[in-house]
Amino acid sequence: MRRTLRARYGRDITGWLIMLPTLILFAFFVWEPLLESIRLSLYEAQGVRLVRFTGLQNYLNIFRHPDFWPAAVNTVKYCLWSLAIGFLVPIFLAIVINEATRGKGLMRVAVYLPNMVPGLATVFLWRFLFKSGDTGFLNILVNTFGIPMQSWLASAKLVIPVIVVTMTWKSAGATALIYLAGLQGINPELYEAAIIDGAGVWGRLRSITIPNLYNLARTLLILQVIAVFQILYEPMVMTNGGPNNASISLMQLVYRFAFETNYDYAKASALSVMISIALIALTLIYNRVNRPKDL
């Protein structure tokens, strides 16, 4: 009896034993915190101690919090600006690099280089570049082209696009290389056939290149929105949410609730859960639109 059990389940047991340590790590670092944040959000807490079950009270309080609506509106603005500034740039870069006859390698390396700069160093660096006043690097630069000097990060109107430019600088090159791989997968005979059919350069670009990138672009679009929706340290370091809440994001508000003002972990969790729900909704919409063709 014992031997047959071993024969039947022996390999199963070894398999589970070998991955047990990793399972524990996943439980501790990934799965349990996700569930815990839901539980925590339904309680009133003092520090790490849960005082009492309050149902959805934390959620209602968040809606009434004076910083919530600015943060929610800004987060949507970040996403829209990042689509406006950051979505087409990598596609353009990929097409251009693919068309280059000389210096292709150099271009690939150069556009990817910013991606190697740690995110935190990037925002510190750009905070200096965007310094207002006549000693700021970008102010000197735009001034030589006759554009008046700006106050950049201190301007409520400019602050979000400026932060998005910083993010685009860091990530556009890496995304461009993904598109580039997509371009290199296009069958060259398609172009030759199009030439024989008399299609001009624009015609080829419109009817072959762009349609072939379409699926990839759709995937990367939603991934970009999901990533930007969680924007946190860029405004935290560059402006601390200012001027006057003009750049505060939802994730930054979570951080404030939890670690900066009154250590209200329950309220922070409630907001986290709300962000997660928004992102899951986005993912579901994406999956609905994007049938399993890719991935």
Partner: protein
């Protein structure tokens, strides 16, 4: 010039470039690309050059003899390394470098070992129920990780691991993205290799260390490079765990400068240079592996 206009692939071909209009557009596109390349590289050069200046030269510029006004210049007055050396010593960056080194080393080992083992089980041993585990791993890839920061931090402080590298190391052992990279690679490994070792009486665990891991060098390199870079750049969890402890890493230190008034601007500039030097060196060495694998790495959700 002739080689420049010879082109047998992509959208534009040699035959298009015979037309002067197309030629002009092609050159214009090259010019735009030149600006893009400059925009990518210039900020990094700017910060490195600025680090050579002193505080006054950085903030106000250099007094011009002609009109007695101050002008900010791109190049520093001198390329002496004294300023860098001073900041390095005053800010105790050797200490943070050493801390970052230990943090990166442990994280990379954990990333390789734990994710590799799980991928090996899911890909090769396939015990009953492995599909559920894989679904859970894939699911966590879809869910936003940053939102569980608060309960994760509470977990860590509950088990008393604050002020220690251990939670940071182990966090790299639970990375869904690395598990999938490993699994995809192991899936392509021929079963005959494993079967031969099994006949020699090797256990399933020994098989992983003796056969699977050594035969997976390409994917190991990818994960190692990504883990090094991610561990070096990570700061949010490290900040919460290590803040005000003797184990602060380079990024934790840099993060704490965001609100500090006591630190001079020029010192922050030099701190930025210190913090970007290792990843850029890594890039220069492994440039090929990094840019070629960006495709698999980029689509991670």
């Amino acid at each position: 010039m002739i080689r420049f206009f010879r082109k047998d692939d992509g959208v534009i071909r040699t035959y298009d470039l015979r037309r002067p209009g197309m030629r002009a557009i092609y050159i214009a596109v090259y010019a735009v690309m030149l600006i893009v390349v400059a925009a990518c590289v210039l900020p990094i050069i700017w910060v490195t050059l600025s680090g050579f200046k002193d505080q006054k030269e950085f903030l106000r510029g250099v007094k011009s003899a002609a009109d007695n006004k101050y002008y900010v210049q791109f190049l520093p007055l001198s390329f002496a390394l004294d300023g860098y050396a001073e900041s390095w010593n005053v800010m105790k960056f050797y200490k943070y470098y050493l801390n970052s080194f230990w943090s990166v080393l442990g994280s990379t080992v954990c990333a390789l070992l734990f994710n590799g083992l799980m991928a090996y089980v899911i890909s090769r041993l396939r015990p009953r129920g492995h599909k559920i585990v894989f679904a859970l791993v894939m699911g966590s890839l879809m869910l936003p990780a940053t939102t569980s920061m608060v309960p994760l931090f509470l977990n860590i402080s509950r088990v008393g691991l604050q002020g220690s590298f251990v939670p940071l190391w182990l966090a790299f052992g639970a990375n869904a993205f690395y598990v999938i990279l490993f699994k995809n690679f192991y899936d392509t490994m021929p079963e005959s290799l494993l079967e031969a070792a099994r006949l020699d009486g090797a256990s399933d665990l020994a098989l992983f260390f003796r056969i699977v891991l050594p035969l997976s060098m390409p994917i190991n390199m990818v994960v190692i490079i990504y883990a090094i870079n991610a561990a070096w750049s990570d700061f949010l969890l490290p900040y919460l765990v290590l803040n005000n402890s003797p184990l602060e890493t380079v990024m934790v230190r840099l993060f704490s400068y965001r609100t500090s008034d006591r630190i001079k601007d020029i010192d922050i500039i030099r701190a930025i240079v210190f913090s970007i030097t290792p990843p850029i060196l890594l890039f220069i060495i492994f440039q090929r592996q990094i840019t070629q694998n960006v495709v698999s790495a980029g689509i991670k959700g």
